[in-house]
Amino acid sequence: MIRFLLLRLAQIIPAFIGVSLIAFAFIRLVPGDPIEVLSGERGIDPERHAELMAKFGYDKPLHQQYFDYLYNLAQGDLGASLVTRKPVLSEFASLFPATLELSIAAMLFALVLGLPAGIIAALRRGKPADHILMGSALTGYSMPIFWWGLLLIILFSGILQWTPVSGRISVIHYVTPVTGFLLIDSLLAGDIDAFQSALRHLILPAITLGTIPLAVLARQTRSAMLEVLGEEYIRAARAKGLTPWRVVLLHALRNALIPVLTTIGLQVGVLLAGAILTETIFSWPGIGKWLVHSIFSRDYPSVQGGLLLIALCIMAVNLLVDILYGMADPRIRHARE
């Protein structure tokens, strides 16, 4: 297991260095040199320009600049936002819980509907239920989620008026942040109205963001179940006279879930990419909206830092999934070693 872990780490470190190089290069590749970018539209006189170039170390050789950048990174210094002047790391940290809350809600939505849909489709293979479920899954998989979100707004916020159009909570509520998750914080504060408001704001974005993972999970669960249902040990379990439900839920599902676990891990990248679109549509104050906003306001240090932190999150989750996978199925661990 230790060997396996070290091997995975050895694969991740080059990828991390690569991403840090991209982030480092990004601010030097965008049109205009870093000082021009930092000084914004107003421009800057040449003397001050040279002075600042020296102050921020942009006149040093590139490799020196890169090592300085890594040195700052190691100390948690990702630079400061041009718009708010706050450190990028603390901006990211303050917005991340919103994205995390949305992503967890989306994943729950996907799991609660996707797993049963996949199981039912596998058990009714070739029957109308299978065709309908898999047809819907392929449609969900093909969905342009930025359009799907707008459709949900038209239906539920416009016509039915059930849910609010945008934001995370009504402005009339104030919840003291403890965990950063509004649903939990409002319950901790005992404020039921705030909880309801947060929940109503969360539903549409969570459905929007969860649709593609839902489709992927349903398809993956179906094929994993079909594979497992053909195994000898399932026949043995049936032959023993176990009830069909016991066979399906205890014997088949447990083994089918192992590949599904990897799929869940892979969906983290999909969720973060989807969050960019979903948060933009619903004005959800998370890192996706922040990144798009930063790109448009040419707040490049924020984009640079956000890029690095998001890549770091994804690599961490993938590593975690690999470890879980190795623990759940010893065959994998040994095959990869």
């Binding site: 990004f26 342009p144 707008l150 798009v292």
Partner: protein
């Protein structure tokens, strides 16, 4: 074409429907000048935000209604099909060529070259595709061509990894050894002996990749980082219409529906191709 392949492909009704829709879309795109009732940028000042024809206040002159500046939505959608298919083709051509080349080199020569290529692909995969595309477009400047380039880069790893895996599998076969013994040089071995036998999974991936390219290009357009208005690109049309969603649902609904239908039919076709070409291959 191999008759067994056709038998498999036709047996799947979904794949067949997908292929027909794709063919129809291609035809519409090519014949846009003939099929579309109006030019995509003609503005009818006395017909702003007209609803579709079957609704009260609609007119059969504008079957799917008009947008906020009085352009016919149907005509814009028809011209938009050109952009979507063009985007898909260019992106697939770029990332397929690049990816196949990288994968072929990695799988054929192995060694340190392979490690370098694989690690490079890992870097691209470590960042969510849409975010990486956004960053690349921020560097190059927002326009349609840069968006296509960015999406092509983002999809490189899929083709590179797939090619590498099949090249490694094929290289061990006897026919490759036979060809090597009879004196074939590396380039001949790579491109003429091995590559043609690695094509099936690549064809499947390219078909499925087409739909992702259309989707991502529309997403970039929607975020204002792809095709710029007044280009009748579907994602850009959606972005333009966003502020009217609660007043005029049709300006938002139809462009999105066009994207969904295109993406869905390519996915149907890709699924059918995969089942027909290689039943064992699973969707990545």
């Amino acid at each position: 074409m191999d008759p067994a392949f056709w038998k498999h492909f036709r047996r799947s009704r979904g794949a067949f429907i997908g292929m027909i829709v794709v063919a129809a879309l291609a035809l519409i795109a090519v014949l846009a000048d003939v099929v579309a009732p109006y030019a995509p940028d003609t503005q009818f000042r006395d017909a702003l935000l007209l609803p579709p024809a079957w609704l009260e206040g609609g007119s059969w002159n504008f079957v799917l209604g008009t947008d906020p500046v009085g352009r016919d939505i149907l005509s814009r959608l028809i011209y938009g099909a050109r952009f979507s298919l063009f985007i898909g083709l260019i992106v697939i051509a770029l990332s397929l060529c690049g990816g196949v080349l990288l994968g072929l080199v990695a799988g054929f020569f192995r060694g340190s070259l392979e490690i370098v290529i694989l690690r490079l692909m890992d870097i691209i995969l470590a960042v969510p595709s849409l975010l990486l595309a956004l960053v690349i477009v921020a560097i190059l400047g927002p326009d349609l061509f840069n968006a296509m380039l960015a999406i092509a880069v983002v999809y490189l790893p899929h083709y590179a990894r797939l090619t590498r895996a099949s090249v490694i599998a094929q290289s061990k076969r006897d026919y490759v050894t036979a060809s090597r013994i009879s004196g074939a040089r590396n380039l001949r071995l790579m491109f003429i002996t091995i590559l043609p036998n690695c094509l099936s999974p690549l064809i499947v991936q390219a078909t499925l990749g087409f739909s992702s390219a259309v989707l991502d290009a529309a997403a970039l357009g929607f975020l204002g980082m792809g095709a710029q208005p007044p280009t009748p690109e579907w994602g850009t049309m959606l972005a333009d219409a966003r502020e009217f969603i609660l007043r005029a649902w049709w300006v938002v609904t139809f462009p999105g529906l066009a994207i969904l239908i295109t993406v869905l039919s390519f996915n149907l076709m890709g699924d059918g191709l995969r089942d027909a070409l290689d039943p064992k291959m699973k969707r990545a």
